[in-house]
């Protein structure tokens, strides 16, 4: 399928307008609508998402991705965007976290880092993040991921919804038409 990256913001004029009451004036000046929010199409699941090579490791198939870096004394967790690079971070070396911990790299530090990063993710509206990490059960990183999930972040991103053309076999449901 064709991938077009930079003409992604156009919306057609209203396709249907309700014929409800006659008292309402006709809508005027309705030009094609442009939503300038750069994160909008990613939330609507129709933004361009790089594919990368399927055997490549680490893969490039993400909008936002979680990375965990360990240093000698501290742990750092970052959220990376495929175009903008690092957009959010939390580290036990930050004074606001270090102040409350006994050690910067013990199990409690990992669990609390997960909670704090989860809180920051919810604050910044990044609730679905892809994650390549496959830690051993009950390891520190696994506990970190569990704390992150418990705070309300999903560690899986939806797939990109690609355009449907008349010759396609199926008509999958459009994600933006589903109202919870």
């Amino acid at each position: 399928m064709q991938v077009v990256r930079n003409c992604t913001k156009l919306f057609t004029p209203p396709v249907q307008i309700r014929n409800s009451s006659n008292a309402l004036v006709k809508n005027q000046n309705l030009a094609p609508f442009v939503n300038r929010n750069p994160r909008n199409l990613e939330r609507m699941r129709i933004a361009y998402k790089p594919d990368g090579y399927h055997v490549e490791k680490p893969g490039k198939n993400y909008w936002h991705k979680l990375n965990v870096t360990l240093s000698g004394k501290y742990v750092t967790a970052t959220i990376t965007h495929f175009e903008n690079g690092e957009v959010l971070r939390a580290s036990t070396s930050e004074w606001c976290i270090k102040k409350y911990l006994y050690r910067g790299k013990d199990t409690s530090a990992f669990i609390n880092l997960g909670r704090i990063l989860g809180f920051r993710c919810l604050q910044t509206g990044l609730t679905e993040i892809s994650c390549d990490l496959e830690p051993k059960e009950d390891s520190k990183v696994a506990l970190f991921l569990k704390a992150l999930e418990d705070s309300g972040v999903q560690l899986k991103e939806p797939t990109q919804f690609k355009a449907i053309y008349p010759w396609h076999y199926e008509r999958p449901e459009k994600p933006w038409e589903v109202v919870e």
């Binding site: 919306f11 809508n27 939503n35 109202v179």
Partner: protein, 397 residues
């Protein structure tokens, strides 16, 4: 196989560019362009394309200066705190037993007082806040701004539904008694006619200290109203600081129609930049919800607009006079008017529908029906596809 190995082993060195070609000895396989590793990757090509001259593309900090703290004093305080922590037996025990729970609220407060503004600038840039509001300027949100709708607090891009933001929110921030503040809430994504403009949802000017109720309301509060199909709109609160009372009467609007609410933060800041400084920033995202229908009818007095995303048109290569090895029906369909094709499908469907009788029940196994022997294979495939509801039949179903 042994021949290939022999050749590889006898190569004197494998580093050079010529040798990279020598490795490809399979007959009939040709490498187009330079081999991987020598050729530039897509990333390298894009970074060369998007190169920016720092003397032209630079950003300007328009915010408040950072709070000055004595580094020596801060280091001493932190060292003392850590020393005390080292000797805390209780903390050690909690940490060892995985029972240490950091208070998120307190940690968040410390975050905003230390590295928070730097992180917030990064996330605001990720959401394109500065680019769409101030062009080439940015600022670090030095003043923490608390905006609370009933139970939902506005942070830095969280989702709040329109019905949850229908009432004026509570606003709190720290301030000394001498300074004045102005709070503006705008939506840069929702303008119906001019995409470079914003709608102002709320404008409270000349707030003395942190008493927002004593401020002068220039524009009344209006709830978010993102139209159906346009996705998530940013609603951005910006808090400006100024040392004296200012005259904002040009921004006062007569009516409260949408045209009157058209606003441009860039022009607003440009005219007042000598007097005001942006200090606080929070924003939320909001998308359509069914409750907005009545809002459009009763408050905005307009029909509810509905939009749909316009996908880019697919590439269809120019038609050949003699297309080789192509299925003729599928190939020709690509160059026909889609309406004509749909009409054909509809006519075929209507042929079997009686206007007055009830429709026949669908067969349990639609593909287990007899197809005449003389029907050509391509048509059989098409019939089967239509029975299984595959492909173009879906355009009329």
């Amino acid at each position: 196989m042994s021949k290939v190995l022999l050749k590889l082993n006898t190569l004197p060195c494998l580093g050079g560019y010529e040798n990279a070609f020598a490795l490809f000895i399979r007959k009939g396989h040709h490498l187009r362009g330079k081999p991987p590793g020598v050729a530039k990757s897509l990333q390298q090509k894009l970074s060369e394309l998007n190169i920016k001259d720092p003397s032209v593309h630079y950003k300007v900090d328009i915010g408040l200066p950072p709070v000055q703290v004595s580094r020596a004093q801060q280091v001493q305080e932190r060292l003392d705190h850590l020393k005390q922590q080292r000797n805390d037996k209780e903390l050690e025990r909690l940490s060892r037993n995985r029972k240490l729970i950091v208070n998120l609220e307190e940690s968040n407060k410390d975050w905003l007082a230390t590295v928070g503004p730097q992180h917030l600038r990064k996330i605001a840039e990720h959401y394109g806040v500065f680019k769409d509001l101030f062009g080439d300027a940015y600022f670090y949100p030095q003043v923490p701004l608390n905006i609370l709708y009933d139970t939902n607090q506005v942070y830095y891009g969280n989702i709040i539904k329109p019905e949850d933001a229908s009432q004026t929110p509570q606003v709190t921030f720290d301030s000394d008694n001498d300074s004045f503040w102005t709070l503006i809430m705008t939506n840069p994504d929702g303008h119906f006619s001019n995409n470079d403009k914003e709608y102002v949802h709320w404008f409270v000017a000349n707030i003395p200290g942190n008493k927002i109720q004593n401020g002068e309301t220039i524009v009344e509060y209006l709830q978010p109203f993102p139209p159906k199909g346009t996705g998530y709109h940013r609603h951005i609160f910006i808090l400006y600081k100024h040392s004296k009372k200012l005259d904002f009467s040009p921004y006062k609007t007569q009516g409260l129609t949408l045209t009157d609410r058209t606003f441009n933060t860039y022009d607003f800041y440009k005219t007042l930049q000598d007097n005001i400084t942006p200090a606080g920033l929070v924003f939320f995202q909001s998308d359509w919800s069914p409750s907005l229908k009545t809002f459009y009818h009763n408050v905005l007095k307009m029909k509810e607009p509905i939009y749909e995303y316009d996908f880019p048109a697919p590439y269809i290569r120019p038609q050949d006079w003699y297309p080789k090895r192509k299925p003729f029906n599928l190939y020709l369909d690509k160059y026909r008017d889609p309406k004509e094709i749909n009409k054909e499908f509809l006519m075929r469907k209507l042929k079997n529908i009686h206007p007055f009788k009830a429709p026949k029940p669908e067969p349990l196994y639609p593909n287990a029906q007899f197809i005449d022997k003389d029907v050509p294979s391509w048509l059989k495939t098409e019939i089967k596809k239509s029975r299984l509801k595959w492909g173009r039949i879906n355009e009329i179903e």
